[in-house]
């Protein structure tokens, strides 16, 4: 691993309590992610991929251990602090795009900028830049509900990068797309990683998708095995 350390998970545990039953997903997991990495996380259904991604994104809290981001602890932040931290550092890309159906593409992309001090003309410029990057400049005023899955995911990527976060967290970003469209989206992520230096953590079921990443971790029963891509 090269570069500056972005994430450091130390002895992280996660237990769900369902009625009387206790389900332990992770037991003292260690993990680190360097700045500039493009990491794919694979594993069978129920192995805890989404749970891990949620803990990285601060939308779910570990029940034990420590999560460091840029050398400062984030798992102990309050909900409000976490929201601000996410706004400043993370862009999310979801399997089902999670766009706001009553807003047009530009308005959707603008959402994270509403959390900043930018003026409306500055916001407009940033939105244009982001939409251009994903190749949707001509669709700015279209309603996202009338777009194809691939276009919607590109709007979602534009929304994730518009405030220029260090890190993109993607949960099955191509899970709902056909092969060709998936490849376009993955190339775009690769470009964002290589050319724009975004650190990307991507959860996927799809080995072909994982091939776009720099490295892949296989999660099984709460532990992972780092495998060589060629293997």
């Amino acid at each position: 691993m090269s570069g500056k350390l972005l994430y450091d998970l130390k002895s992280v545990s996660k237990t769900f309590v369902k009625g009387k039953e206790k389900i332990t997903i992770f037991d003292k997991l260690d993990m680190s992610i360097a700045e500039g990495d493009f990491l794919a996380i694979m594993g069978p259904s129920g192995s805890g991929k989404t749970t891990l991604l949620n803990m990285l994104g601060g939308v779910d809290q570990p029940t034990g251990g420590e999560v460091f981001f840029n050398n400062s602890r984030v798992d102990t932040l309050s909900e409000g602090q976490l929201a601000r931290w996410r706004a400043n550092n993370i862009g999310f890309i979801f399997q089902f795009y999670n766009l706001m159906p009553m807003l047009n593409a530009a308005r959707n992309v603008e959402l994270p900028l509403l959390l900043t001090k930018l003026s409306s003309s500055q916001r407009k410029k940033s939105v244009e830049t982001a939409l251009k990057l994903v190749g949707l400049s001509d669709r700015a005023t279209h309603m996202t509900s009338e777009m194809s899955g691939g276009q919607q995911q590109r709007v979602a990527i534009a929304r994730a990068i518009v405030s220029d976060p260090k890190l993109l967290l993607c949960d099955e970003p191509t899970g709902d797309l056909d092969r060709k469209t998936a490849d376009e989206i993955l190339s775009m992520l690769q470009l964002l990683n290589r050319k724009f230096g975004k650190t990307i953590v991507m959860v996927t079921h799809d080995a072909a998708a994982a091939a776009y990443a720099k490295r892949t971790l296989h999660l099984d029963k709460g532990v992972f095995v780092e495998k060589d891509l060629a293997a």
Binding site: N54, G57, A83, F92, F94, Q95, N98, L114, R159
Partner: protein, 396 residues
């Protein structure tokens, strides 16, 4: 701070834009609130108008004498002898000639035809003398002239003429076997007396076969509000089985019948408010669950839960205030200045106007606001507490 504001604004705008998805539900919640407000305001404006009518009628300067326990003028009977005894009581004002100033009156019921319903209704007719005129403030002949003593002539109160057909000046009216001519129209500044017909006391006595008896006596008091002299006399003299009240007291008792109606109005409004509240809660909970994924996504992006809370609350308040305005405007259009008649304590019709004031309008909006606040606050709380991981759940 500006960020929080723009967050709330965005969530609010998204909620409002997604309203068409829940159009019928939101519409019916809004409508329910407007109905509640309209009902409340109708009752309140009615009581306000009635209060105003009775307020104008009662005076502290005059006392009214009725047979004990009769409760209303209609049920009271006073013989000529009794009238002579009680009007000699201390505390009654005297004229220059040294005579006590009093007005013995008759109060009978005749039939009138309501203009609105074309149905028969009770109409009070008062036998009165010129002293009776002086004992009431603001009596004015608005049209025509006074009746003449000894003739079958009546003058008609403005409210009575407004409510009942066939009382134009110059026309003849028939009560039982007797025929009367309407010779004038009078006003008393909007008080309950305007709902009456007036004629000469003696003529009413003979035409309605009352012999030498009366029903009530009104006396002018030496000291306003002081009826003690008369009350003492009633206590001493066993022949006097009488109630003595100032006219103001007398009318406020009459008004109590209606205050019961106003309580019913409030009770009805509150019960209906609970119904409207249930509707608002249901609508807002649906709104939140419709937008669960969107709210969670915004939270993942970094929006605060305060914005989720206020966005939802504001949606509820906007809907309910809209309902409140619709209800208030509807009741204003239908009720304000509308005149109606209700049973006074005499089982006769007292005509009065609905009074819709800006304060009542405000009351209506406040009621709507309370429904909107309570109906929005719990769903808004749920919106604020939604787990952010919902954004990552599969399925749409």
């Amino acid at each position: 701070m500006t960020s929080i504001f723009s967050q709330i604004l965005t969530v609010m705008m998204m909620n409002i834009r997604s309203l068409p998805q829940r159009f019928w539900m939101s519409f019916s919640a809004t409508l329910a609130i407007s109905v509640v407000v309209a009902v409340l305001l109708s009752f309140l404006s009615m009581s306000k108008g009635f209060e105003k009518t009775l307020e104008g009628a009662g005076s502290e300067n005059t006392a009214i004498v009725t047979r004990s326990g009769s409760k209303s003028e209609l049920n009271s009977v006073l013989s000529n002898d009794i009238v002579n005894i009680i009007t000699a009581a201390p505390g009654i004002a005297h004229n220059a000639a040294g005579q006590p100033i009093y007005s013995p009156e008759l109060f009978v019921i005749v039939d009138g035809i309501r203009r609105s319903s074309k149905l028969k209704a009770n109409l009070p007719m008062r036998g009165i003398s010129s002293v009776g005129f002086e004992l009431r403030s603001n009596v004015e002949i608005a049209e025509g002239r006074m009746f003449e003593a000894g003739k079958n002539e009546i003058i008609v109160g403005k409210a009575a003429q407004r409510e009942f057909a066939g009382f134009d000046v110059g026309t003849e009216v028939r009560f039982g076997k007797t025929i009367w001519t309407v010779v004038g129209l009078f006003s008393t500044g909007g008080s309950a007396f305007e709902s009456e017909l007036w004629a000469d006391t003696r003529t009413v006595q003979s035409q309605f076969r009352r012999g030498n008896s009366f029903q009530t006596v009104r006396v002018l008091l030496e000291t306003p509000g002081d009826v003690q002299g008369m009350v003492d006399l009633v206590k001493q003299d066993p022949r006097l089985v009488l109630d003595i009240q100032t006219e103001a007291e007398f009318f406020s008792e009459q008004g109590e019948a209606l205050s019961g109606l106003v309580s019913i109005g409030w009770a009805l409004s509150i019960i209906m408010s609970l119904g409207a509240l249930a509707g608002a809660l249901n609508t807002m909970y649906t709104s939140v669950s419709d937008r669960e994924r969107e709210i969670a996504t915004l939270r993942a992006i970094g929006f605060s839960n305060i914005s989720a809370f206020f966005g939802t609350l504001v949606e509820s308040i906007v809907l309910s205030i809209l309902g409140g305005f619709i209800g208030a405007i509807a009741s204003y259009l239908f009720m304000n200045g509308r005149t109606t008649a209700t049973m006074g304590g005499n089982f006769t019709q007292v005509g009065f106007s609905f009074e819709m004031s800006p304060e009542l309008f405000q009351d209506g909006i406040y009621l709507a606001l309370i429904i909107g606040l309570v109906g929005g606050i719990f769903p808004a709380w749920r919106a604020a507490r939604l787990p952010v991981i919902l954004a990552f759940r599969g399925g749409v």
